[in-house]
């Protein structure tokens, strides 16, 4: 499990965090662009278009307006009083990304990228999806803007998340089954990259996390950091001060980076990313990249990767499809090395217990991904003082997981 670095001896980032990535997309020694030549010009075009859009007040205003009137932002920061009492430690606040339209934070990014695609004159978008939340969010943004949308999804994930498959189809998207490899998120990304390589002139690839080649890790982080900007303002208003610790689950790492990024220079705020411990780290069946992974190059970026000694990518396991991925966003690898963000993991079982706990104490059914963050709060909050504040990102709601949880418990619906 993660080394616990106390904030007192935490080395400071050498530069302001916004100094990363550099122009070529490197976060320290991580990140970059490792893709076939066919895609390189498209990535340069995308980086240029994004830089221009980001500097354009009208584009930013358009994104903000849609986040407000369509997504439902700002999402509330909610004081979880009964959960706080039950755990008997730090005051726990939940950032309610589960209340976003479509039920998760993913739409913060897809609205931004779909508007960018429109600006670039691309009429078709593609996406990969694991849990289905990013696919649904992409299908939604495409319906909103009248774009053609194809979503790649592993057949294993399609079985686990049948409800989201149907939602995407209702929204007018085509769901393309991927039966290669482990039939999960990584294979869906391979297939989406192959599609993009073939249709790059007419298509924009809406990548769903802080992964892949530059500019995706930076761009997705920027679109998601609305979470942290709001949360920072809200906690100061509610409690009169900054939180002592932030907790978020880390699959590719977009909800966590979105929450953490605006707090990076607040040196006294601890940040903890929670990876999927699956059946337990010692079983080898997990998705905790920082537990047993090492630096590698995978799907366009250099970062921590779960791989065998030769460098073949390992198949991961998690009860949560959204965390079931072999690599982690390159910016996470940088802040892990700098000891600015700590990483730990919780098992499937702990996440399932947290799923029940939050449902019963607060009347909020969390996504299984977000239940990993709650599960770590269960460990951490009791060790903190009662006057301290723990802010947890509730990245998504659990409606999509209800069927699977019933199945795991042997209940037929």
């Amino acid at each position: 499990m993660a080394k616990s670095a106390r904030s007192s001896n935490t080395p400071k980032p050498r530069r302001r965090p916004s100094a990363w990535p550099d122009a070529a997309g490197h976060f320290g020694s991580y990140g970059g662009r490792y893709v076939p030549e066919t895609l390189m010009p498209a990535l340069e075009e995308l980086a240029a278009a994004y830089a221009k859009a980001r500097a354009d007040r009208r584009f930013r205003a358009d994104v903000d307006a849609r986040l407000a009137s369509y997504v439902g932002r700002p999402t509330p920061l909610y004081f979880a009083e009964r959960l706080t009492k039950t755990l008997g430690g730090a005051r726990i606040y939940l950032k309610r990304e589960d209340l976003c339209h479509t039920g998760a934070h993913k739409i913060n990014n897809t609205i931004g990228q779909a508007l960018l695609a429109q600006r670039m004159g691309k009429r078709r978008v593609i996406a990969e999806t694991g849990a289905g939340q990013h696919g649904v969010a992409t299908a939604t943004a495409s319906a909103l803007l009248g774009l053609e949308c194809d979503v790649y999804m592993g057949t294993e994930d399609m079985a686990r998340q049948a409800l989201n498959v149907f939602r995407m189809r209702l929204l007018g998207a085509k769901v393309v089954p991927v039966a290669a490899g482990s039939r999960t998120l990584k294979d869906a990304i391979n297939e989406a990259l192959r599609d993009w390589t073939t249709n790059v002139r007419t298509t924009h690839y809406i990548l769903g996390s802080v992964l892949g080649p530059h500019p995706y890790p930076m761009m997705v982080r920027d679109f998601q950091s609305v979470i942290g900007r709001e949360a920072r303002r809200q906690i100061v208003r509610a409690a009169g001060r900054l939180p002592d610790a932030l907790v978020a689950c880390v699959g590719g790492g977009s909800n966590s980076m979105g929450l953490f990024f605006p707090f990076l220079t607040d040196e006294k705020v601890r940040m903890i990313g929670v990876e999927a411990g699956g059946l337990g780290i010692s079983t080898g069946r997990h998705a905790a990249r920082f537990a047993t992974g090492r630096t590698g190059v995978f799907q366009g970026t250099k970062t921590f990767v779960l791989q065998d000694p030769q460098g073949q990518i390992q198949i991961t396991h998690s009860v949560s499809a959204g965390l079931d991925y072999s690599a982690v966003g390159p910016e996470h690898s940088l802040y892990r090395d700098l000891h600015r963000i700590e990483y730990t993991s919780v098992t499937d079982k702990e996440a399932m217990e947290a799923f029940d706990l939050l449902s019963r104490t607060e009347g909020i059914i969390p996504a299984l991904e977000s239940a990993h963050a709650i599960a770590h709060a269960v460990v951490l909050a009791p060790k903190m003082k009662k006057r301290q504040i723990l802010l947890v990102n509730l990245s998504g709601r659990g409606d999509k997981d209800v069927q699977q949880v019933a199945k795991i418990r042997g209940i037929e619906l």
């Binding site: 070529a24 970059g32 662009r33 490792y34 893709v35 076939p36 030549e37 066919t38 895609l39 390189m40 010009p41 498209a42 290669a180 490899g181 990584k186 294979d187 391979n190 990259l193 192959r194 390589t197 073939t198 249709n199 790059v200 002139r201 630096t295 590698g296 190059v297 995978f298 799907q299 366009g300 990767v305 791989q307 000694p309 030769q310 460098g311 073949q312 990518i313």
Partner: protein
């Protein structure tokens, strides 16, 4: 591309340069067939490589299987899966290269994805590849921007790092890639993955001519070439033709494994015929 790279050391003789020079003198074009190492097993791959060399191949491209080959179409994906089921490693492929090198002077090029090289170690791989008699590397997910370390290592070892140029590559970028390339430039004939359908041949001809205006390096064309006619047409402008998916598909379609070697020999010979001036 941050720094202008030095051209490869002219002093280090490389079999790839020799072959292209020799063929140019005969107005002949290079045939570069591709075989996936370990599909169906390493011994068979060795047999096929030697058969291809005897049947007229001018250079041999050996695939090193990777779990997530994102530039490859279904034919090469499945070939990699079959090879990985045999647990073939980069080390095994270097051993294969060494055995082939002991029997023939034909240039050998390894093609693999960067993570396998990165885990092996860029410098160690360049050294071991050179020692095994490997002459070039093709790494489809390593653009020149990220290739400084490997390019330095291969240059020092006298191995060519071969870069790709795509139909989407703009002229200024072609020049920048050519400035860092050695051995030859690999022109990706189509906007897509390996084994897809070729675009109109006029388009390929036009692009290859444009590339040749910016570099004196040989240009080989691959990704969708399958028939001798296509090869002949492309050879009018290019210096070489790479055939991968189409070859593997033909081998897979032959139900009798004992006949596959002769299928390969006949196909390679027919392609080579198309590259010799009449």
């Amino acid at each position: 591309m941050r720094s202008a790279a030095a051209r490869p050391a002219e002093a280090t003789a490389n079999r790839i340069d020799d072959v292209f020079a020799r063929l140019r003198g005969r107005d002949e074009k290079a045939l570069i067939p591709y075989v996936m190492a370990g599909d169906p097993d390493v011994a068979t791959t060795e047999e096929w490589l030697l058969a291809a060399a005897s049947a007229g191949a001018d250079l041999l491209e050996i695939g090193v299987p990777f779990s997530d080959p994102l530039a490859d179409g279904p034919v090469l994906q499945r070939a990699a899966e079959r090879a990985l089921a045999q647990h073939v490693t980069l080390g095994d492929v270097l051993g294969l290269a060494r055995r082939v090198r002991a029997k023939t002077p034909i240039p050998l090029i390894l093609m693999t994805y960067y993570n396998l090289i990165f885990q092996y170690g860029d410098e160690r791989l360049a050294r071991d590849a050179a020692a095994a008699g490997v002459d070039g590397l093709i790494v489809p997910d390593l653009p020149p921007e990220e290739a400084d370390t490997l390019a330095g290592a291969t240059r020092a070892a006298g191995v060519h790092l071969i870069f790709l140029v795509a139909p989407t590559t703009p002229p200024a970028r072609i020049a920048a890639i050519a400035a860092r390339a050695s051995g030859f430039l690999y022109y990706v004939s189509l906007t897509g993955i390996t084994g897809s359908k070729l675009p109109p041949l006029e388009e390929i001809e036009q692009r290859v001519r444009a590339i040749k205006r910016t570099t004196r390096l040989p240009v080989a064309v691959g990704f969708g070439v399958s028939t001798p006619d296509e090869a002949a047409r492309i050879a009018r402008v290019a210096d070489g033709v790479i055939v991968a998916s189409a070859l593997i598909k033909r081998l897979q379609e032959e139900p009798d494994p004992s006949r596959r070697s002769s299928v390969l020999t006949a196909y390679v010979a027919s392609l080579k015929q198309a590259l010799i001036p009449r």
